[in-house]
Point group: C2
Chain length 166, copies 2
Amino acid sequence: MKHSQARRSLCPINFTLELVGDPWSLLVVRDIVYFGKRTFGEFHSSAEGIARNILAERLDRLVGAGVLTRRPLESDRRKQEYRLTEAGLDLIPLLLAAADWGAAHADETDAPPWWIAYVRASPTDAADLVREVVRSGGSIFSGEQTVVERLTRSGAIRIDDGLRLS
Amino acid sequence: MKHSQARRSLCPINFTLELVGDPWSLLVVRDIVYFGKRTFGEFHSSAEGIARNILAERLDRLVGAGVLTRRPLESDRRKQEYRLTEAGLDLIPLLLAAADWGAAHADETDAPPWWIAYVRASPTDAADLVREVVRSGGSIFSGEQTVVERLTRSGAIRIDDGLRLS
DNA sequence: TCACATTGGTTGCATTTCAAAACCGATATT
DNA sequence: AATATCGGTTTTGAAATGCAACCAATGTGA
């Protein structure tokens, strides 16, 4: 794993913070993992409203660090497709922990309660499942292949009025 | 949980990032959890070299958000003692996930390999144990009551040439 | 085919944040 | 009483951020 700047210390937490310790980088990873986003425009359209120059700089940095890959999209060569590397997929437990803390302590969030409950009950299983789905091109909530669909099929969640854990 | 600034979105990950999504805040929490630090001077002396004004601002913010408590130290009234609230203790899984990622992807770290292996093998147990020790005034590595000592006593780790998992 | 729209950036500029050092009041030590 | 320590604040210059305008390459529709 490359690091462009000099390390402040040899602490592994510090290492992680030097790469993704800012208010934006992990939102890009979230967009991929939760919503299957892959292009500059999709990241830019997220609710938090990241500035275009900041987004471009963060994408460069994450590609340079080996967290993302970038390649031209053959269906539309104006677009680049960003995907997670294995190191990027390794950020999934961190993302789930951040989501858990936020859902626990924010007055209000838009996270589905059943999803938070599932992650809280089985964090390791959840991380493994999310990793497998995202690696094979899916995401947690959006697109063709979703974690939600997998859990529904497996009977781990049930549909009546809304989704809930079985 | 209070938030001083306007929320950028209702995403729980975004909520977490708005509070601790900077290169310094989690280092303070790390100093408490891993090394039992509790005062301004102790935080300031950490290897990363945080500036005094930044540290003061982050401590204010974390206290205001309900992650830390601050009270004058009766043994030396020049000092304030900072401790984690329950919400602060809830950050432990996030911290362990950040440490795991850093240790996995940095070329070199100062994290004891046996500790990383333990956290990786039993993340939930590790988080629970760390939480209990830190809540009762201890830390992972330093001071009177440590997680290392607890694991050694329980036989989970063994001492021969260095520590290792049993 | 050719004007026009979209896309992923880059540039310029004003504002905010950060970093480093000096400084300060309160408390502790000798 | 003199001095040192502690937690913070202030000051000042450097860096990062946020915003809008701009641009080249590619795609789209008449």
